[in-house]
C-alpha cells in the first residue's frame, strides 16, 4: 500500500508531516523509538527542503509517499522545484567541532543517515527525489 501526503513549504507544516508519518507507522508493530526515528528522518529531509530549497515559500509544495513492502518501508519525498544537492559529496560533520564553533545547525542529514538503512537522492530537471529506506522485520497489523 502507498500513502500520499502533500504539504506546502512552511515550517508550521512540519507537525502535520510528522502526524501523517506517525499515523501510517502505527499500522506496524513498532516501538515508540522506532516510529520516532523514522518520523525524525522524514522531518529532517522535509525541513531542509522547506528552508534551504524553498526559503519557506508557502506557495511551493512537496509530495511525500510512504510505501510498505516486504521487509521494510520506503519514504519518498519529491520536490519538483529543487536546488541541486550532491549527497555523495556530503561528509558528516564533527560534532565536537560544531560545538567548538558554537554552530546551531548542520547535523540534520547526519541524523538521517544514522537513522535510516539507505538514503539516496535522484535529481533530474529541477526535480529531486529523496528515498529513505528502513528495514522492518515485523508483519503489518
Amino acid at each position: 500500500m502507498i500513502h500520499y501526503y502533500k504539504f506546502y513549504c512552511s515550517r508550521e507544516n512540519l507537525k502535520g508531516i510528522r502526524d501523517f508519518v506517525t499515523g501510517v507507522l502505527r499500522n506496524y508493530s513498532l516501538s515508540e523509538i522506532e516510529i520516532n526515528q523514522m518520523v525524525l528522518a522524514v522531518d529532517e529531509v522535509c525541513s531542509n527542503l522547506i528552508i534551504h530549497s524553498h526559503q519557506c515559500n508557502a506557495d511551493d509544495s512537496i509530495e511525500l509517499s510512504i510505501r510498505n513492502q516486504p521487509g521494510g518501508v520506503t519514504f519518498e519525498i519529491i520536490d519538483r522545484a529543487a536546488t541541486y544537492f550532491d549527497l555523495n559529496s556530503y561528509k558528516s560533520p564533527d560534532l565536537k567541532q560544531i560545538v567548538k564553533e558554537g554552530r546551531n545547525g548542520g547535523v540534520g542529514l547526519m541524523l538521517v543517515q544514522k537513522l535510516m538503512d539507505k538514503v539516496e537522492v535522484e535529481y533530474n530537471d529541477s526535480k529531486s527525489t529523496w528515498r529513505l529506506y528502513k528495514g522492518i522485520h515485523r508483519a503489518a497489523v
Binding site: I33, N36, Q37, L95, K100, E101, G102, N104, V107, G108
Partner: protein, 115 residues
C-alpha cells in the same frame, strides 16, 4: 510548543512542553538567552513534557555549550522520555551534555558542579 521559566536564586528551570523542531526551536534559544542575560549560571531544562526533538532543537543546546563552558554556566537536562533521549544518543550528544533522570538529580548536579 510552550516554555515556562522558573527562577530560584541562581537556578533557573526552563520547562519545555510540546515539539521542539525547526519551527519552534527559536523559542528555546530566546528563553536560554534571556535567562543567561539575567546572570543565571545554573540552568535546568525540564523535558518531562517534551514530546519531540529534531536537529534544530539539538542545535540550540550545541550552540550554547562553548559559551557555557567559558562562563562556567551549568546546563542539565532531566525528565527525557525514552524516544527523546534516544535522539541525543544517536547523535552522541548524551556524551557532551549532562542528562539525568529527575529534577532532584539535576539540582544536585548543578550544585555539585559549582561547589
Amino acid at each position: 510548543m510552550e516554555i515556562s521559566t522558573l527562577h530560584e536564586g541562581q537556578l533557573s528551570i526552563l520547562s519545555v512542553n510540546g515539539d521542539l523542531d525547526a519551527s519552534s526551536s527559536i523559542l528555546l534559544d530566546q528563553a536560554i538567552e534571556q535567562t543567561i542575560a539575567k546572570g543565571k549560571r545554573k540552568l535546568l531544562i525540564d523535558c518531562t513534557k517534551l514530546n519531540y526533538i529534531s536537529s534544530a532543537g539539538l542545535g540550540v543546546f550545541m550552540s550554547h555549550l562553548q559559551d557555557f563552558e567559558s562562563t562556567q554556566t551549568s546546563l542539565v537536562l532531566f525528565g527525557l522520555s525514552e524516544k527523546v533521549f534516544n535522539v541525543f544518543q544517536v547523535l552522541g550528544l548524551d556524551q557532551l551534555l549532562t542528562i539525568v533522570v529527575s529534577e532532584a538529580e539535576a539540582k544536585m548536579s548543578v550544585n555539585d558542579s559549582l561547589l
